[in-house]
């Protein structure tokens, strides 16, 4: 397939995803763009579930095809950057379909900068008459994120000019900017490897969770990777400051602090691999706090992109990225978080990586046997 046809297909598919996402607009949201889409998502549940599975499947099809083309040097770095930019531009206009976290970010920023209250003490629900209370899903929580994130959200909050639709858009632009920064850092850290760039930036889970849902994990990882970037330039103090900034966005990267402190004992690739496994451990332990959320896996993908030769990590990324995106299917079908939903979510999360691991070990064993 020619690159031009590929990018056209890519764009069309992203546009379809963007349109599909508007069916997920909450009933109480001040603007419902399409009754047809709303009815499709809320009342044609089997069809919606099927569409979601197809979307995930097609995205992975594209992903696999592009990675192969990059590996065979049929797609170069500039073309990958073009695909990334096309994704950003189109999906910026999508609605945060699969998660309402972006509204929590907006509400926390509003508590801080509009109501001028401490978001660690006041919950959005305490502001009677606040229009966002009608449609946000976690109004009864104080700020969950560390202060640096709340400070940074001043930018999209003020640019949103008090308009909820514009604010959603400015928050998405803000997150997308960090997605681009993170992609650039991966590109630089991998010595301009197109494969590493595509591995991270075109991963369907990264695309859906960052460009559609607007999760802030890319912001945390951008600071963490900037820390690595500085560390490899022997700027230890600055690198630690950058890691601190990353922890100031979301606490997860605190696990990297010991590795940063003792970084001189490891070679570059080992340090990244250990960091990746450390974050993988945090990801697996996340049910102790709440549950495994699919966007947490962005932490691992960002680092695994820098060690593409580590096949175990490579297969794990593939398996989990696929499985985690399928976590939404039981909710789309049952429209309930109870009943069978949690069990199916667990199965969809762990069966694909489980199968992939079996395949990986089988392949490895065969390779070892054949080398005898």
């Amino acid at each position: 397939m020619k690159f031009k046809s590929l990018i056209i297909l890519y764009s069309i598919f992203y546009i379809l995803i963007s349109i599909f996402s508007y069916g997920f607009v909450d009933t109480n949201f001040p603007w419902i763009p399409s009754k047809f889409l709303f009815n499709l998502i809320h009342y044609q549940r089997p069809l919606t579930t099927m569409i979601h599975i197809i979307v995930v499947g097609v995205l992975f099809g594209f992903y696999g095809y592009v990675l192969r083309q990059v590996k065979n040097k049929k797609i170069n770095a500039n073309q990958i950057w073009l695909m990334i930019l096309v994704g950003v531009v189109i999906l910026l206009f999508s609605f945060p379909a699969f998660s309402y976290d972006i509204f929590n970010y907006i509400a926390t920023a509003k508590v801080t900068y509009f109501y001028k209250e401490n978001p660690y003490l006041m919950m959005p629900i305490e502001f009677i008459g606040e229009p966002m209370l009608k449609f946000m899903h976690a109004a009864n929580k104080i700020a969950l994120y560390p202060p640096l994130w709340i400070i940074l959200t001043a930018v999209p909050h003020f640019l949103g000019l008090g308009n909820i639709l514009l604010t959603v858009f400015t928050f998405k632009v803000f997150v997308a900017a960090f997605y681009l920064v993170l992609a650039w850092l991966i590109w630089r850290l991998s010595e301009k490897s197109g494969y590493s760039l595509a591995f991270f930036a075109l991963n369907p889970l990264v695309i859906i969770e960052t460009l559609v849902s607007g999760h802030n994990d890319v912001v945390m990882m951008a600071f963490a990777l900037f820390g690595f970037y500085l560390l490899f330039q022997n700027r230890k103090i600055s690198s630690f400051v950058s890691l601190l900034a990353s922890i100031g966005i979301k606490y997860a990267t605190i696990i990297l602090a010991p590795l940063f402190i003792f970084s001189s004992r490891f070679k570059r690739e080992k340090l990244i691999t250990f960091s990746c496994w450390a974050l993988f451990a945090v990801f697996l332990l996340s049910p102790l706090r709440e549950e495994i959320y699919s966007w947490y896996f962005i932490w691992i993908i960002a680092l695994a992109a820098l060690v593409p030769k580590n096949k175990l990590l490579w297969w794990l990324v593939m398996g989990f990225s696929f499985g985690l995106l399928l976590r939404y299917t039981p909710f789309l079908y049952f429209r309930s978080y109870g009943g069978l939903t949690p069990t199916i979510k667990t199965l969809t999360t762990f069966i694909p990586p489980g199968l992939v691991l079996i395949f990986y070990f089988f392949k490895n064993a065969r390779f070892r046997l054949s080398s005898f």
Binding site: Y115, K116, E117, N118, Y120, L121, M122, F127, I128, G129
Partner: protein, 165 residues
């Protein structure tokens, strides 16, 4: 319409009163960490920026100091009890003032006002009980200072007055 609103509001206050629970007192005077806790409480005011946050902070301290005063009265540590009650009074007045400030800022304070009224009623309940059990006056004789007459009932009545909204 106004009468009906007042009735509903009173009903909500009564209901809130039923569920308004005073906290544990925290550390008591004499504990070696008591001063530290007081410093931590004072530092807390800088964290509680914003009229609602500050209202919450002041009301929490008003509750805490009232319970501290109650326990000190029960152990007949009257000067310390009166000090704690005075502190509770000040925090309660500030809690009210911050709510008024929130209202001026355009925030809807109706729910917080119901909570403040419930707190006031609960405080008054504690103060009335203390008034029944405690002497009207008490002659406090410190070791190296002249004796001092403590007008306990007068203090309690003043505290009740402060909490009458």
């Amino acid at each position: 319409m106004k009468m009906r609103f007042k009735k509903i509001s009173n009903l909500l206050v009564t209901f809130s009163l039923l569920i308004y629970v005073l906290p544990y007192p925290g550390l008591m005077p004499g504990n070696r960490f008591y001063r530290l806790e007081q410093i931590a409480d004072r530092v807390g005011q800088f964290w509680a920026f914003g009229s609602f946050s500050r209202h919450k902070y002041e009301l929490n301290l008003a509750d805490k100091k009232l319970v501290e005063a109650k326990i000190l009265f029960e152990y007949q540590q009257y000067p310390l009890a009166l000090q704690a009650l005075e502190s509770s009074n000040q925090h309660f007045q500030k809690a009210k003032a911050y709510l008024e400030r929130a209202s001026k800022e355009g925030k809807d304070i109706s729910q917080k006002m119901i909570n403040l009224k419930a707190a006031a009623e609960k405080h008054k309940e504690v103060l009335e009980t203390l008034k029944k059990d405690l002497p009207e006056e008490f002659l406090w004789q410190p070791e190296k200072k002249p004796a001092e007459k403590l007008r306990i009932h007068q203090f309690l009545e003043e505290a009740i007055k402060i909490r009458t909204l």
